[in-house]
């Protein structure tokens, strides 16, 4: 087993909202009334049914309540356990699924405020991602600007499956705001279920939805690259979270080949897709869709042709590895340091800034 080193950054932790009622204190009177009068239910996404084996490692599952809903558990099981200096919280509460942009906006604001109060204020190691109401680009930008004043927010969070491909020009004001404020865009596994969760329609099973996350990341990378997001925003970083990465080399070979063949269609793509990925795109470590033997995985690292692409993550509390085997076997000490320390700091510039809370 490769041992983690102290002082790393865990780039994908999932603190859970215990219930929609937990957000009531962070909603205004109107929305508090809407939630109670209309009998709104908890916003749990199909992507992570609470009792599904992947939603929580068996030994991380609490006696009651949702996995990841208690700070003490997250500290003991992840942050303390792996000795990290920073842990980035990516709440996956199902606020993106609602169709009303007003409601989504209210819930996102409440969720971000809840994260500050219940998590960031209670452990100095924790950092947060700004969840945005993607239904409205205008409201998303406003929420990014509101939250960015608190420098403990280190990125903007979006889901990999949404209403439109993420490269679409309509989203670009979000990317402009993120670039301006030094925030990477984190794109996390999951769907708002406004479209079928695969490109060939609705499958029958939860496992199909989860397997399909990897394909969704592939199509989003294509969209982001060929629409020209990184030609317009060369300093914008994007982080693929819980994406897997063993698909990356062969995916890029295909994209690169077609780009060479039909680049006349997207002439604004001024660099090869491979170069764009190396400079602008990062991937969280877990889950590792690993081959059975470490030698093959090491060949794959060579196929990636860069040791700067991966960022350490536990994906806590999701069940991606057992015991302390968060790092794959046979990884060099140098690569461990890059993945755990250097790469996250190079990606999240706000980690090096003093923590300033919201006025």
């Amino acid at each position: 087993m490769t041992s983690p080193i102290a002082g790393g950054v865990d780039c994908d932790l999932h603190p859970a909202v215990p219930h929609l009622t937990s957000l009531l204190p962070y909603l205004n009177d109107y929305w508090r009334d809407q939630v109670t009068t209309r009998g709104m239910t908890d916003l749990v996404s199909q992507s992570y049914p609470a009792n599904s084996p992947i939603a929580s490692r068996p030994d991380w599952r609490p006696a009651k309540g949702k996995p990841g809903s208690r700070l003490e558990d997250l500290q003991a099981q992840a942050v303390d356990r792996f000795g990290v200096r920073y842990g980035i919280c990516n709440p996956l509460y199902g606020v993106q699924m609602v169709f009303s942009e007003d409601m989504a906006d209210a819930f996102c604001r409440a969720l971000n405020d809840w994260l500050v109060k219940e998590w960031l204020d209670r452990d100095v190691r924790l950092r947060g991602s700004i969840v945005i109401p993607v239904q409205s680009v205008e409201k998303s930008v406003a929420e990014i600007e509101r939250c960015a004043r608190d420098t403990r927010f280190v990125q903007v969070l979006m889901l990999v499956m949404g209403d439109m491909p993420l490269g679409k020009r309509a989203y670009w004001p979000i990317y402009a705001a993120a670039e301006r404020l030094g925030l990477p865009i984190g794109i996390h596994a999951g769907s708002n279920y406004h479209n079928p969760p695969t490109s060939v329609g609705w499958g029958s099973y939860h496992i199909e939805d989860y397997v399909a996350q990897a394909q969704a990341f592939q199509t989003q990378l294509t969209s982001l690259i060929v629409e020209g997001v990184f030609a317009r925003h060369p300093n914008l970083k994007m982080v693929m979270l819980e994406s897997g990465f063993t698909w990356l080399p062969s995916y890029l070979w295909r994209l690169h080949k077609f780009w060479r063949g039909i680049r006349m269609e997207t002439p604004w793509v001024d660099r090869a897709p491979l170069e764009i990925v190396r400079s602008n795109i990062r991937f969280s470590l877990q889950p590792i869709d690993a081959p059975p033997d470490p030698a093959t995985l090491n060949r794959l690292f060579e196929h990636m042709q860069s040791d700067e692409l991966l960022l350490f993550s536990t994906d806590y509390p999701h069940w991606q590895f057992d015991g302390d085997a968060v790092l794959p076997e046979g990884m060099s000490a140098d690569l461990v340091r890059k993945i755990m320390v250097d790469n996250p700091h190079a990606t999240y510039s706000r980690l090096s800034q003093p923590a300033e809370t919201m006025p």
Binding site: S52, P53, I54, V160, M161, G162, D163, M164, P165, G167, S191, H194, N195, P196, P197, T198, S199, V200, G201, G203, S204, Y205, H206, I207, E208, V211, A212, Q215, A216, Q218, T219, Q220, T222, S223, V226, E227, G244, T246, W247, P249, S250, Y251, W253, R254, L255, K257, F258, W259, R260, G261, I262, E265, T266, L274, D289, A290, P291, P292, E302, Q305
Partner: protein
């Protein structure tokens, strides 16, 4: 990949490839719009003149994403006697089959009845295409073998068409497309798999298709390149569906060929499926073994468009992970992203692997060894 204006001798030099090859993805076309009419009942002639095809897409003519070249085909592939690329047997022979020493050419007709919303019309056109393949192609050149095309959204009618063609040596496989109304493992398609297994025909799953679903899980993208790259993701998902619905568990002799969507993704998909299955197998008790085992025993890949890494040894790694015995060479003639058989494999491959890749795997799979 074929470059449109590359300075090259035409037709390709006969010395480019010395050994015989199997080309497992050739696209025959109709020379005229009415070329199928002799194989279609009169009522469908009138129907087509009045309503045309009524597909799961908006455009009456042409694809929603305009191709990079007319008919997505090589500009040097127009037959001298007129008609679109791929519509003349004699020119296909002169430009491709003879100079490249093609010993087996598998025909995959694309503009068929698949993806038509009227299921009766869909079945009629597919059956007509099958008759047309025999009449125009396979009976005229014994190197060519056809694919049984079927009205994909109506499994029972499709199964009847397969049984009708069973035992006819003009055909070596059943052809489906990867994009359908539902993922390919769904029950509406099960009669197709049952009939194909019974007939001893592999199922070819070619990239493309019309099922009405956006080609990403986030809606419709903007560009043709997104569709082209996206075929690979569609095939990954279709294959995951087939495995996770237990198709291979039920049909132990069924073989499947993933056509024109790459193969480099196969190892990573299998690892991901295995990892998820370890955690979630209680949801799919009908999937009794690790998904990678089903894939290893049942699935083949055609090679075009070849993955093209900067370092050629990376390509060899991936081929070894997939298996030298699982790849079937294909050119995609006459399409623009044609792979030239003299160029796709790097030097240093053993003769046995080279022969398996170019010819023997295909002969064995299609029962022609």
């Amino acid at each position: 990949m074929n470059v449109q204006f590359r300075d090259r001798a035409e037709p390709a030099s006969p010395v480019a490839v010395k050994t015989a090859i199997a080309d497992c993805d050739i696209h025959p076309a109709r020379a005229t719009k009415t070329e199928l009419y002799p194989y279609l009942a009169k009522r469908w002639h009138e129907h087509l003149e009045t309503y045309d095809k009524h597909q799961y897409q908006g455009m009456m003519e042409g694809p929603p994403y305009p191709k990079a070249q007319p008919n997505a085909s090589r500009r040097d592939a127009y037959p001298p006697e007129g008609g679109p690329q791929g519509s003349s047997l004699s020119f296909m022979q002169a430009q491709h089959l003879d100079p490249n020493n093609v010993r087996l050419g598998v025909l995959n007709p694309l503009a068929t009845g698949q993806g038509i919303r009227n299921h009766d019309l869909s079945a009629a056109i597919c059956s007509a295409i099958n008759d047309w393949q025999i009449e125009k192609w396979t009976s005229k050149d014994r190197r060519l073998k056809g694919s049984v095309v079927v009205g994909n959204e109506d499994g029972l009618t499709a199964a009847r068409e397969i049984r009708k063609r069973a035992g006819d040596r003009n055909f070596v496989q059943v052809l489906l497309l990867s994009r359908n109304v539902e993922p390919l493992g769904q029950r509406r398609y099960w009669p197709i798999y049952e009939a194909a297994e019974e007939a001893g025909l592999p199922i070819g799953v070619h990239a493309f298709g019309f099922g009405g679903n956006p080609i990403t899980a986030s809606g419709w993208p903007s560009f043709y390149i997104e569709e082209m790259v996206g075929h690979s993701q569609c095939q990954q998902t279709a294959l995951a569906s087939i495995v996770l619905e237990g198709v291979f568990e039920r049909h132990k002799k069924l073989k499947m060929v993933m056509i024109e969507a790459g193969f480099g993704w196969a190892p990573s998909l299998a690892w991901r499926l295995d990892k998820c299955w370890q955690r979630l197998k209680s949801e799919v008790p009908h999937v009794k073994r690790p998904p990678s085992e089903y894939i290893g025993e049942h699935v083949y890949w055609t090679t075009q468009p070849m993955e093209d890494p900067e370092r050629r040894d990376h390509l060899i790694d991936v081929i070894e992970w997939v298996g030298w015995d699982k790849l079937l060479f294909a050119t995609d003639y006459p399409h623009w992203d044609y792979d030239d058989p003299s160029r796709v494999l790097p030097a240093g491959v053993s003769d046995a692997n080279r022969e398996a890749f170019y010819l023997n795997n295909a002969l064995k799979l299609y029962g022609l060894a």
